[in-house]
Symmetry: D2
Subunit: 337 residues, 4 copies
C-alpha cells in the first residue's frame, strides 16, 4: 500500500517536521508541497535539512494542487482549513495541524479565536480516554496543540484523584511560535533568556487543556496555565500540580493508564524527564511524585512540540485513519545530546 500525501504549509516548522517524519515512513509517497508567500521557492531554501527533497519546489496552496492525494496535511494558520477540507471531499483524509476543529464549544471558539466555529473534528490524542476509537478510519482529524498534548497526558490519569484546580507551567522552545518574524523571537533576544507570555490564562491553549481534562474527569476542571519561553529550539517541559484527594495511589494510576501506550512512557522512579531525551521522537516522558508536606501531586512531562506535539501526532493519526499500525514511521528514540 502506498499512500500519496500532500502538505499545505510545507515552508514552516510544522510542515518541515511532517516531511521529516513522512520521509521515514515506509508507505508514503510525497506529493504536492505548498506554501503561501514562498510558493515557487525551492523547498531547500526553507527546509535545508530535507536533502531527499532538495529538488522540489513549493506550489501555491490551492484546492487544485492539493486534491487527488490520499491524505492532505494542513499546517496553516487557523481559519483556513474548513473551506479547503470542504472542497477536497471525503475521498481525501484531511489532517489539520491548526486549531480550527479542536474545540467542541462554539462559544469557546468565538471567545478565544473569534469568528464562527468551523465545527469539531475527531481529536488526535488517542492516548486520552475514548479517543482512539474515534480516530480509526476517520476522514478528518484535528491535531491537538502542543501544550494541550503534554499537559493533558500529564494530568488525565489523575483527574479522579485530584481537586478541581490544576496549575501548569510549561517551559517551551521557540519553534512553537513558528517562523513569524517578531523581535522577541530573534536569536539575540532568545538566547540566554527566559520569559513568560500569555500569563493569567490568556493563552489560547487554555480552553483546549480545560476541555480535555474536564472530559476525562467528567466534571469541570479549572486550569491555571502559564507558558514560558526558554532558549532552545524544541521541546516542552510541563510542570503540573494539583491538590490530591485522600488515599490516592498516584503511581498506580499512571502505570495503569499508560501500560499499553507505545508513546507515553512513565519513567522508573528516580528518573526525571528532560526535553532533549525526546527531541525528534514521538515519545512523551513522564514522572510523578507527591509533595507529602502539601498533599499535592506534581507531574513533570517532556515532549517535542514539533514531533509528538504536532507532526508526530499527525502521522500517528494518519496511521489510525488509514488502518495502518499506529506506530508506523514513528519512533520513541530521541536525538541526544
Amino acid at each position: 500500500m502506498t499512500v500519496r500525501i500532500a502538505v499545505a504549509g510545507a515552508s514552516g516548522y510544522a510542515g518541515g517536521e511532517l516531511l521529516r517524519l513522512l520521509l521515514a515512513h515506509p508507505d508514503i509517497e510525497i506529493g504536492a508541497l505548498t506554501a503561501h508567500s514562498s510558493a515557487g521557492d525551492l523547498l531547500l531554501k526553507h527546509q535545508p535539512h530535507l536533502l531527499p527533497l532538495a529538488d522540489r519546489r513549493l506550489q501555491d496552496t490551492t484546492v487544485e494542487t492539493l486534491k487527488g492525494h490520499d491524505v492532505v496535511f494542513l499546517a496553516l494558520p487557523h481559519g483556513h482549513s474548513a473551506e479547503l477540507a470542504g472542497q477536497l471531499g471525503d475521498d481525501t483524509v484531511v489532517i489539520d495541524c491548526g486549531a480550527d476543529h479542536r474545540l467542541t464549544s462554539a462559544d469557546d471558539w468565538a471567545r478565544w479565536y473569534g469568528g464562527e466555529h468551523a465545527g469539531t473534528w475527531p481529536y488526535g490524542l488517542p492516548e486520552l480516554p475514548n479517543q482512539r476509537d474515534r480516530l480509526v478510519g476517520a476522514r478528518r482529524v484535528a491535531v491537538p496543540g502542543c501544550y494541550p498534548t503534554v499537559s493533558s497526558l500529564a494530568l488525565a490519569p489523575a483527574v479522579d484523584l485530584i481537586e478541581d484546580e490544576v496549575v501548569i507551567v510549561a517551559v517551551s522552545g521557540t519553534s512553537g511560535a513558528g517562523k513569524s518574524l517578531k523581535p522577541n523571537l530573534l536569536g539575540s533576544e532568545v538566547m540566554g533568556s527566559a520569559s513568560a507570555y500569555g500569563v493569567g490564562g490568556a493563552h489560547r491553549h487554555t480552553p483546549e487543556i480545560t476541555q480535555n481534562l474536564s472530559a476525562a474527569a467528567g466534571r469541570p476542571i479549572k486550569v491555571s496555565f502559564t507558558p514560558v519561553l526558554a532558549p532552545m529550539s524544541r521541546g516542552i517541559l510541563a510542570t503540573c500540580t494539583a491538590q490530591l484527594r485522600d488515599g490516592a495511589n498516584v503511581r498506580e494510576a499512571y502505570e495503569k493508564a499508560y501500560a499499553d501506550e507505545p508513546f507515553v512512557h512513565l519513567l522508573p522512579e528516580g528518573f526525571w524527564p528532560t526535553t532533549n531525551a525526546v527531541l525528534g521522537s514521538n515519545a512523551v516522558q513522564l514522572q510523578v511524585t507527591v509533595d507529602e508536606d502539601l498533599g499535592r501531586l506534581v507531574v513533570v512531562a517532556a515532549v517535542d512540540n514539533l514531533a509528538k506535539g504536532t507532526a508526530g501526532a499527525a502521522v500517528q493519526c494518519m496511521n489510525l485513519a488509514l488502518g495502518l499500525p499506529e506506530t508506523t514511521g514513528l519512533s520513541t528514540v530521541g536525538v541526544a545530546p
Copy 2:
C-alpha cells in the same frame, strides 16, 4: 572611607560575581582571595573575566588569611561559616552567601541540611517587611538563596490577599548549581534541554521561601516549589500563583510595596520580565496579573541568580552593614542582548 575586603571561595561563580561587583564599588580595596583545592592558582584561571585581578593568586581558606579585613565574604559550601565567623570576631563584618544562617528553625535546618543548626543571622533581603533595619550596622549577614529572593519578593506584597497555598515554578540558569562537575551540568546535556529537579518539595530552598512568606503573612503559607533548569548560564524566571481572596486590588499592593525600593521594579502594564533584562544587574523585574476566570493571582519575576540573587545582595547588605548608601556600586542596568 576605604573598606578592605576578603572573599573566601573566590574560585567559584558566587565568588567571581562578588569580585566583579566589588571592582566597580568606589569604596573597596580587594584583599585576600581564597579557595580550597585551587589555592595557589592564578585567579585568572578560574575568573578569566576579571582582568584587573589577573596577577592575583588564590590563597588557602584559613582564618589567618581572612582576618584583618573589614569585611569577609564567604562563598563556601554550607557548614563552613560558623567556625570561621567565630574565629574572625566582631571586628570583621561577615557576609555569608551560604545557607548556614538563613533558617530560623533548628528543626528545619536538621531536616533539610542535617546536623546542628549554627544559629540565625540577619536575613539579607532588605525589601521584605521589617528586614532592612536589622541589616543596618549588622556584623553578620545571611545572604538569601537565589530562588527565595525572587520568590519572596514576587509574593510578599500579596500575602494578605491570597489563600494559604502558593505554587511557584522557577526556571533557572545553570550557574546556580555552581562549578560542580556533574554529568547533567555538562554543556552537551544542558544546551537545548529543560529539566526539573528537586520536584515534590525536595529542594532546600522550599523551607526558606516558606519561612519568608509565612513571616510576611503572619500565618503559615504552604509553598509548592519546583525548580526547572533551562539552557542559560544565568537568570531565574519565577512564575508564582495563588488563589485570591475576594476584592483584592493586586496591582496597588505591589505599587505600594515597592514604590521606594531601588532594586525591585514593577513593570508598566503590558510589559513582562525577561531574564536577560536583569543579567548582571541588581534589579528584580516583576509583573502581576489576575486570571479572572479562576480568581488567581499570577506573578512573574526575573532576577540574576548570581547578582541580586547572591553577590549583589551581599554587596547591598555590606553597604547597609557599613552605613554606606545602599545602592553604592550596584546597578539596575542589565547587559542585553
Copy 3:
C-alpha cells in the same frame, strides 16, 4: 564637567549598548534618544534592561532633536551620517557607529557600499599605530566595524613579521546582525547551529581590515576573511593566521605593542581567550602562538562586538575627543559566566 549626549538609533542593539555604558559614565547627562519607526515608543519596549531610563520615550531622528548636545552618537544604517553631521556643525562632536566614514578609498566605498563616498573621519581604533593622536580633540569619529576591530588588533603587531597574506575566520554572536527581522536570525534557526556567511571575501568588513593592516604594514596585505555565525548573542572569537618570516619573535612583538594599552590584553602563556570573559567589557583578550611545523603565526582574539566592538569604542573615542581620561566609564571586567 557634564557632557550632554544624544543617541540616534537608540532602539537598536548598538544604541542600547551605548546607553548602558553611558549610564555608568560619571560625566554624562543623557539627552535626546531617537529612532525611526519606533519613535514615540517607550524606550523600555526596546531596551528592557535600561531601568534608569524606563520613563523615556523615543523621538524622531531629526536635526532639530539632535542639535544642542555636546556629543551625538549615530547608531544608524550606513548612508545617514554625512547629512546629519553636516547640519549639526562643529560645535557638536559626532561619533558615527556606522560605516560611512571608515574607508579612505572612495573606490572601495563605491565597490562595497555603493554610491558616493561621504569622506573619511578619524578612525576610532586608538590602539593602532598613529591613530590615538588623530582622535584627541576630534570633532568627528568613525567607529570601526566589530570584525575589523578584533582582526586588526590581533594582527597589527605582527605585520612586519609575516608574509603578505592573512587568513581570518571569525566566529560571531548574532547581535552583530542587529534587530533586523530575517528568518535566519530567528532563535529557532540560530540555536544549536553554526553557519558561515559573506564567504569568499564578500563581507563589507574585508576592505576595512585590509586597509588597517596595510596601513600598519606600509605595504599591501591580502586578507581572506570568513565570518561564522554561532549560537550566542554577543562576542567575536577571531582565529587569525599567517606565514611567518624567518626569525620572528612573535610574543615580544605583541608584548611591546600592547604593554601600555588599557584595553588590549595579551594573556599569559597557556591561557586562551573566550568570548564570555569579555562579555560587556571593553577588553580585547589575545593569545599568540606559532605552529612550528608550518612556520605559521596563529593569533586568537576575543571581543564583545557590541562593547569594544562598537559602543565601548565609541565611548572611548568620545573620551579622547573631549580630553577626558580615555578609560572613563569603561571597564575590562566581563560578565561571566
Copy 4:
C-alpha cells in the same frame, strides 16, 4: 539476515549515537552493551533518549561479554582496541570509533598519542579516493575522527587545484569532547561563549587530516588546523581555504567527486551549509567558492560530529564490511530546527 552487534562504551556519546542509529537499522539485533565505571547501571541513566532499550543494563567491557557477536563497535578511549580486537578473532567484525588504527605512520602515532602503534586498519571514509574498496568485506575498520571527516571531504576534490598549504578553522559543538567532567565543558561556561583550543597545530586530528589530504594529492599537504568550541551540543562547521593554482574549475571538481555519493551533498549555488541542517543525519553539506581578489578557494562544510562524524560512519562501514547496501539504516534528513 540478522546481524547481532555489541557496543563497548555504550554509556558515552558515541555509544549512544551508535545505538540510536542501530535501533533504526532493519538488520540489527542489539546484543551486549558494555561500559567501564558505569557497568551495572541501567542504560537509561546514561542514554535517556533510547526508550526501546530502557530495560537494558550495562555490562563490564570484557572479551567474554563482547565475543559471539557478528559485529563489535568500540567507542573507547584510544589505546584499548588492539588487545580486545586480537582476542575477538576474525569471526567478528570490529569497528573502532577510537584513534588507534587511523594513522599509517608509527612515528606520527608516537608523536601525537605516545606509545607503540597498534597498526593501521582500513580507514572508514569511503568517499575518499580508493577507500571504499578497502572497506568492502573488511573485518577491521578504523572510523575517522570527526574533524578529519569533514575537513578531508571538504578539500580532497581540490588537492590538484591548490597550492600545498591549507588553512582550516572548524567550529564544533561540545559533544565532540565526550562526557569528560572538565570545568570548561560545563554548561555555564559553554553557553554564550566561543573558544579555540589545540591552537598552533596541537590537536591530534592534525596528522590525520594531513595524512588524508596528502594521500589524495599524492604529495605532502601542509595543514593549519584550529578547532573552535561553540555553544551547541552537536555539529561541526569547517571553513577551509587554500591558494588556487591558475585555471582551476573548482565547482566542476566537486560536482564530479561527489556526483554519486549518497551522503556528501554539494549545495546549489547561493546556498550555504548550516550545522542544524545535518543534525542527526549522515549527510555532509558543502559549498565552494573562490575569493577572486585573492585567488583563494574557500570551502564550507557541515557535519554532525556524532553521526557522519563518528557513529554514522561506523554504521556505513559496517554495511560495507557485511555486504549490505551502504545506506541501510542511514539518512540524509536532519532534525531541524
